[in-house]
Amino acid sequence: MRTKILIVAEHSPDKIMPLTWEMIACSKEIERQIQAQVVVAVLGKDILSQASALAVKAGIDVIAVTGDSLESYTAEAYISVLYELACELRLDLIIIPHSSRGYDYAPQVAVKLNAACISGVAELDFCDGKMGFCRQGFHGKMAITMESSRPVTVITVLPGAFRYDGKITESKGTVTIRKTQLMLETTISVATISAEEQNANLRDAETIIAAGKGIEKIENVELLNELAQVFPKSAIAGSRAACDQGWIAQSLQIGLTGKTVAPKLYIACGISGALQHIAGMKDSQTIVAINRDPAAAFFYYADFGVVEDINTFIPALIMEFRKKKA
């Protein structure tokens, strides 16, 4: 029996987002292991051209669901449309991005379908033909492989976890158009609010010194600023926790809810290493992690590790640079 899989596309008003291709890569990995039938759902008001382009490029069948209630994203519309699709197509697995939209509706789709729900999937692991979904837990320190015990499973896939090989297939997929008459009952979509892109210097920086919760106090930001002086084209940034504390400006936040950077050198000071942060900097050329916790998850992603307290190590490092300069 073929496993029926639905991928829910992530798209902006005018384009299919790269996350969609990552989910297609995830489904290809499943298809290499088990018999599967994969379709992609694109939900929106004017998404026909995007849906057709996707079917052609990915060689995958696409269902375009259109309707006035889908003009802009609402959890209410997505939940309702996906619930209907899942029942009608007798889906076994629904793949949703672990994005700010994806984790907004995925858990509620799972509730409606009485389905298993596994979030932040970073890897697949097959054991005797049974699908396992790997995610991180325990502050990012351990990898947990989960299995579903339900007929239907909903997963959210972590951005950057699966890579599409970029191949464009020869066989084209089909596009099926469905119209929904759905009327929203509990939600009104008001607007999408965009702020000006700030801090271009973060993008251009060759060295980024990033502060985490482990710097403990705002006074230590001064130390990091001083440290930054010894690196060419350097900038200061922060983890979500450091920005929430007000130590670092929110516009300088690195991670899933902030900026993605890839400088020549990334020095993480007192950052635990949760995947939310790692996703925003893992492609940096050289990564140095400083953390007093020897088990901090950040060391899994670093080239060089220093197990020390920020309060003692940063002053020592600054001294070292001063000494050699003199």
Binding site: S72, A75, S100, R101, Y103, D104, Y105, A106, P107, V111, K112, A115, C117, I118, S119, G120, C127, G137, F138, G140, M142, A143, I144, T145, E147, S149, R150, T186, T187, I188, S189, V190, A191, T192, S194, A195, T207, K213, P232, D244, T257, G258, L265, K282, T286, V288, R292, D293, Y300, Y301, A302, F304, G305, V306, V307, E308, F313, E320, F321, K324
Partner: protein
């Protein structure tokens, strides 16, 4: 306005633990320090701010877990919550969002809340699912990663802005009752006032046995827990603090990364 805040107790980021022999669970060391999930602190603060502007309001707080969890229910009351509820589970260890959500929804269904707030995710498990599942089970609208909210009491709605990324937000209006998961940074959580601490010490926490709330177990199961495969081979610098600093300088100089 009747508000419920869902809070979770998490082990400290640096807490040590060991994996059980069957690789299916972990056990935290006895000396582990537990605290309130950081995201939930923002949810509680937001609830207290609503209470200060809309009169009368009541803020209840609920947490699911073993005996130990009472500490953060008490802490929430010290910060300013009016009533504390503890859904007591006999077992310790991993709880799936389904289990936690089914218990909270079972509790909330009996209490007719206008607004339910939760943190956007927990620091240790990072699912970011429990709040939305509670909403799904109660069949009320929800918005996640909320970075701004404005209650429209007359219209019986709430305006919220959801954080999409550093530069984008989505604004929606939800009918009440509704559930919001609160993104960190929405406010600055307060410290407990002495008067609240003294009051909270005298108050009872209502304990509810999990079995009374028809929990859902086992929709997902753990196959195994293993170490994270390192993305890079990390070279740990050794020696004294000064020696480590000298080594790091040499490495960075060798890679021509210094001025």
């Amino acid at each position: 306005m009747k508000i419920l805040v869902c809070v979770k107790q998490v082990p400290d980021t640096e807490a040590r633990f060991s994996v059980a022999a069957d690789n299916k669970s972990v056990r935290y060391d006895k000396d582990t320090a537990y605290r309130m999930n950081r995201f939930d602190e923002f949810a509680l603060e937001e609830a207290l701010r609503i209470k200060e502007t809309i009169n009368p309001s009541v803020v209840d707080v609920v947490s699911v877990g073993a005996e130990l969890v009472r500490n953060i229910v008490r802490r929430s009351m010290e910060i300013g919550a009016d009533n504390g509820f503890h859904i007591l589970l006999g077992q310790e260890g991993y709880l799936s969002p389904w289990t936690t959500a089914s218990l909270i929804a079972g509790f909330a269904a009996k209490n007719a809340y206008d607004l339910i707030l939760a943190g956007a995710m927990s620091e240790d498990d990072m699912h970011g699912h429990t709040g939305q599942m509670v909403a799904g089970l109660l069949n009320i609208p929800a918005a996640s990663s909320v970075i701004l909210e404005q209650l429209k009491e007359k219209e019986n709605t709430i305006y919220v802005e959801r954080e999409i990324d550093a530069t984008e937000r989505e604004a929606v209006i939800l009918n009440l009752p509704a559930l919001l998961t609160i993104q960190s940074g929405i406010n600055t959580p307060r410290y407990p006032a002495l008067s609240h601490v003294l009051r909270a010490r005298q108050q009872d926490i209502t304990t509810i046995a999990a079995d009374e709330l028809s929990p859902i177990y086992g929709y997902e199961k753990i196959r195994n827990i293993t170490g994270v495969a390192a993305a890079r081979k990390c070279v740990f610098l050794d020696g004294s603090v000064e020696q480590k600093a000298a080594k790091l300088r040499e490495i960075l100089r060798g890679k021509s990364l210094l001025i």
